[in-house]
């Protein structure tokens, strides 16, 4: 839940909208202005916030917000294990 909330904050910051609501099924294009450039910002912001680094093969698996939450959780837990 903590990671989910942090990712929500990342989206609110990237989209410059403090009231933004997201759901785990959302994919690129589901929010106004969500394009491949925003994806870079989202991924880099998550990497900075959780102090993790996504390998390209890990990025392949990230399609939805749910995938992103899962990937961040897995990386974060592995780092702090």
């Amino acid at each position: 839940m903590i990671i989910e909330n942090q990712i929500l904050e990342v989206f609110r910051k990237v989209f410059n909208n403090p009231k933004l609501v997201i759901s785990s099924s959302m994919v690129t294009g589901d929010l106004p202005g969500w394009d491949s450039f925003k994806n870079v910002e989202i991924l880099l912001a998550c990497e900075a916030d959780f102090e993790i680094h996504f390998r390209s093969k890990e990025m392949d698996a990230i399609e939805s917000i749910g995938d992103l939450i899962e990937a961040c959780e897995a990386k974060y837990l592995a780092k702090n294990a």
Partner: protein
């Protein structure tokens, strides 16, 4: 040899090598061939005169394109972002084409038309074979190469990656379109040797801090095309990829992907900014051996056997775009250019971006060039806006892809370098310029942004 014959030869020679590395898996040349063969032999394939590629970028779609190239069947790439109405118009247009005509065609790319109707550009098997044979001589690949495919099927440079990789035993490497701008990380980790993109991918990646010096040491060949390549963009890329040959290709879809190119000598990229105005945007260089280029009233015109036979079912558009001179058929490219003895043809922008404002003739590219210098930002755009109900331009709006830019400072700089009528009435700082599905600046989206900001 035809492209199909080259592909057959490669299947035999490189059968155990990886042909496609895709997020969903890797397939060898042998597997690619077997899957293609199964498809080609299916009644559903042989009974159709042409095949649509929806544009998901799946392995199945790559197999389908390979099958079409192998079997000499035309394919029509679509894009998931095409609205249903556009797809309906495209399929309707293709259904009107005769089977005899389609037999000679390799692919039909649909581009946006100024009238709102998509324009179908058919390219024959012979034309694409001839072009790939030429490209092979300029940019030969080997079975050790790993070619990063960043163009989707609906953009004709995608064929270069597939054809050049698959006739040479190289590996075509694809990434999810949603992570297109993370291409540098994919290139680094997967030892990509051939980079092929529009310049915007580089400038946006650089802006996100992903294009650092020596970050792409494995790249030996970098091919750019699809839009103007600014000096600063290629300079950044050259430092990120210190071992790469750098090439700028130019050409309209109507001329079978590309018609000229310029190989960028690294000695031209020594300083941070160029003082040579001919290099502020990289030259488009010299015509390919089977191409003649000329300038007619500032506009670049092209003649070649590789010119499309004409737009699909739109003869009225043919009349506007093609003409005969000295017994040869020429295409009016709509690009403004000039000749330079050192660098060949120099790209000066689009002819259709020339506007008149209160009687003054203005090239929007010139405004953009000044705005680029004033803001120290590559990604800028100037549009004519608003347009009155009578169609007259009433002002200019400038966009700078840098949210922390100092608008007042830039405005003062422009006051010093441009006639007052060429200075945008309003400058808007954005995080990034909106791009079309092909990675080019989306002027329609900029008009909408202007409308939102200023209404």
């Amino acid at each position: 040899m035809s492209l199909a014959e080259y592909l057959h030869a490669a299947i035999i020679e490189f059968s155990d090598y990886p042909a496609l590395e895709h997020p969903d898996g890797t397939i060898t040349y042998q597997e690619l061939y077997q899957r293609a063969l199964a498809l080609i032999e299916s009644p559903n394939f042989s009974s159709k005169p042409a095949h649509f590629i929806p544009g998901k970028g799946s392995i199945d779609e790559f197999v389908k394109v390979f099958s079409c190239l192998l079997a000499g069947k035309p394919y029509i790439p679509l894009n998931l972002k095409f609205p249903p109405e556009r797809i309906h118009k495209i399929s309707e247009g293709v259904s009107l084409a005769s089977q005899d005509f389609l037999q000679s065609i390799a692919y039909i790319i649909f581009t946006s038309g100024s009238t709102g109707e998509p324009k179908g550009v058919p390219i024959s098997s012979k034309q694409i074979s001839n072009h790939i044979r030429f490209l092979q001589s300029v940019i030969p690949l080997t079975k050790s190469d790993r070619f990063l495919q960043l163009f989707d099927f609906s953009f004709d440079p995608s064929i270069v990656g597939m054809a050049l990789s698959w006739i040479n035993g190289a590996t075509l490497y694809t990434i999810p379109t949603s992570h297109l701008l993370m291409a540098t990380r994919y290139a680094q980790e997967n030892e990509i040797t051939v980079w092929h993109s529009v310049p915007s991918v580089v400038s946006l990646a650089a802006k996100a801090g992903l294009m650092t010096p020596n970050s792409l040491p494995h790249i030996r060949l970098a091919i750019f095309g699809g839009e103007a390549l600014p000096y600063e963009t290629i300079k950044i890329f050259s430092e990120a990829a210190p071992n790469a040959r750098l090439l700028n290709f130019w050409g309209p879809t109507e001329g079978t992907i590309s018609m000229s190119h310029f190989e960028i000598d690294r000695s031209l990229l020594k300083s941070e900014h160029t003082s040579d105005s001919a290099l502020s945007v990289m030259p488009i260089g010299f015509p390919h051996p089977d191409v003649e280029l000329d300038i007619l009233e500032g506009e670049l015109i092209a003649h070649s056997e590789r010119l499309t036979c004409g737009y699909l079912n739109q003869p009225d558009l043919d009349e506007k775009a093609f003409f005969y001179r000295d017994g040869k058929r020429w295409y009016k490219t709509g690009d403004l250019a000039t000749w330079d003895d050192r660098y060949g043809y120099l790209y000066l922008g689009r002819i259709d971006r020339q506007i008149k404002l209160k009687g003054y003739r203005i090239e929007l590219q010139e405004c953009e060039s000044s705005l680029r210098k004033a803001s120290s930002c590559n990604d800028v755009s100037v549009i004519a806006w608003p347009i009155s109900t009578l169609g007259a331009t009433e002002g200019l709006i400038g966009f700078i892809a840098n949210p922390s830019t100092d608008i007042t400072l830039i405005h003062n700089h422009l006051m010093q370098h441009l006639p007052h009528y060429m200075i945008p009435d309003k400058l808007i700082a954005l995080e990034a310029l909106p791009l079309t599905i092909n990675g080019k600046v989306d002027y329609k989206a900029l008009e909408n942004i202007a409308s939102e900001h200023l209404s």
